[in-house]
Symmetry: C2
Subunit: 367 residues, 2 copies
């Protein structure tokens, strides 16, 4: 159980591990509330460095630097789930790290994540842990094809995944993911993917945003549409799943839960695809469509503040600007009902997230 502490005073210093766009937007939200921000990242071109009071350009295993970082900050959070376990352990021993190292451990290992979700009775695709290529055939004898092989660690944006349509695909799939520890799971014939972005405070208070519907292109998130095209019952079921997960992890901060929505007679079965212990790309729409956005909610939660209102004053379509999409910024900047967010990255590269655009439309029905 997290100790409920007095709220962290404005003027205190928040440390952020990771200097990408999520760290940058967390830093901007923290600044709005009067906090100072220090950013720790081994990449000298970190966009978050440019809006932070202090930057730490060191490797994540540099304990001396981590020690100074912990000393100079009042609380530490992170923008990515692949924080090395020993880094999280080292920092947790010295200061308050939110979300906690346990949540991080589960979120960075697909097998641990699946075992955790199974323990909470939340529906997921049938799966099996894989250590060697032989395990795959054995597992698929039960799970059957089509199936997906997913590396246990460091997968994102479709990386570290391979589809297995027939047993003949097994050797190639195992090669493709790099012959590493993995899971194999049944392919879920879903109608759509949705995300629930939920904030949980130190006292266990939870506030969820309305589910968004995710559209991918080349395995990378392209758009999030809100409201999602789901029934009210599915909406509430999705929120309940997110609350169950956040409670089970004794979670503090923003948690993202990706779910597959299927189609069955009379209802929409839900399967959790993935959880992310951080602010999430599929929550960027909240910046311009909600009273309090995901970044401020995360800062409020980790600082022991009450959570903000998450109600949605507008419908929204978030569109990522990936690679060359970036050059479309003048078009979006000229559209009246769009808010442009650019990350200050110096180089455009294929597949690189350069910014996003939120198209909003005020709606009359408060949520």
């Amino acid at each position: 159980m997290n100790k409920v502490l007095a709220p962290l005073e404005p003027g205190s210093t928040i440390g952020i591990l990771g200097g990408g766009q999520l760290g940058r937007m967390l830093a901007l939200a923290a600044a709005r509330l009067g906090f100072s921000v220090h950013v720790f990242c081994p990449d000298e071109n970190s966009p978050a460095f440019k809006v932070a009071e202090k930057s730490y350009l060191f490797d994540y295993d540099d304990e001396k630097a981590l020690g100074r970082f912990a000393q100079a900050t009042d609380i530490i959070t992170y923008e990515f789930e692949n924080v090395p376990a020993h880094t999280a352990a080292y920092l947790s021993a010295k200061t308050a790290l939110h979300p906690n190292a346990g949540a991080l451990k589960i979120a960075q290992d697909r097998l641990a994540e699946r075992e955790f979700l199974t323990s909470t009775d939340i529906a997921i695709a049938p799966y099996a842990g894989i250590s060697r290529v032989d395990d795959i055939e054995k597992a698929l004898a039960e799970i059957s094809t089509p199936a997906v092989l997913k590396a246990s660690r460091m997968g994102y944006d479709g990386k570290g995944q391979a589809v297995i349509k027939t047993f003949d695909d097994i050797p190639g799939a195992w090669e493709k993911i790099g012959c590493v520890a993995a899971i194999v799971e049944a392919f879920i014939p879903f109608e759509r993917e949705i995300s629930v972005i939920i904030a949980r405070s130190q006292s266990g208070e939870m506030v969820a945003f309305d589910p968004g519907e995710n559209k991918h292109v080349n395995h990378i998130l392209d758009q999030t549409l809100v409201p999602a095209n789901i029934s009210d019952a599915t909406h509430h079921a999705a929120l309940k799943i997110a609350r169950t997960i956040a409670d089970a992890l004794d979670y503090v901060g923003i948690l993202a839960v990706e779910l597959f929505v299927c189609n069955a007679p009379g209802y929409e079965p839900l399967y959790v695809n993935e959880i992310a212990p951080r602010v999430h790309n599929s929550g960027h729409w909240t910046q311009d469509a909600c009273h309090t956005d995901q970044f401020e909610q995360h800062i409020r939660a980790i600082c022991g503040w009450p959570l903000g209102a998450a109600h949605r004053h507008s419908d929204a379509v978030m569109k990522n600007l990936i690679g060359d999409d970036y050059y479309q910024w003048p078009k979006f900047a000229a559209l009246g009902n769009h808010n442009v967010h650019l990350y200050g990255k110096t180089k455009v590269r294929e597949g690189r997230k350069m910014g996003h655009v939120n198209q909003t439309k005020p709606h009359k029905k408060a949520t």
Copy 2:
């Protein structure tokens, strides 16, 4: 006439003169659009330093430092109208300074401001320029009492002002403002004060926010209420005045126009009280109630971007947190329909602006 240049690319660097809360909020808005920000300010405790890529801690007359600042930035703006004239001239000769030095010159001298407004046929209180105490009596023979004596330069939040109820008050009033160049003007028996915050782009495009109604306590802005309690005709007349002023100054950026609203049979006469060539405290409500806020509009305008939509999706009450009000932040942070903005100032002092709170209420009638 301003040269219309190609829009400044995201990733470019914006220089801001002045490191207070307005500079800080401008820097945050610039970062959202992908810009880097350098801040120049002689105060080492500048809140804007903490969110800037680079800080210049030098006096405004340090030409070497100003030269480096101009060299390192692509465009320069400012957060306060009392930028010394020679600083503005020095920078204007080296780089693009917005709003232009002419607007700055008029806004930092009440006599020049009154003469400029008179030249545009905009209604202001009857006034006269004052160089010596004897001038006051002469002027009041025409203007009559009650009147207000206002130092021409460096006045803000009621400082440098003295009310003259009878001729006997003249010597005391002259003392009070420090026996400096001034104007004396007729006291306008106004019903309310409103502000129009207007953005003007390099191409002359203008977008105005809905007028806000200002409530002062101890001569310092306490609250801005939107919508203002004025007729539609007055609303449009106020916007027309703001547009006239912005055009006459060939202005680029956010301009604030404070107006007195009077009560006459069948209409509400308007008198311009003051103009400010910058983002303004009475425009802070736009952060949480409008599609694009005053800070982003200013950045868009000075960078040659198209202006954003200024429509108001919510009604708003902005409340300043001044001095000890600051300690009420936990109360406001816990209220669902309030957004808290704190400036990261390290010391609470009487009369010091520490933050503000925007209370919003979504409304159905789009503006």
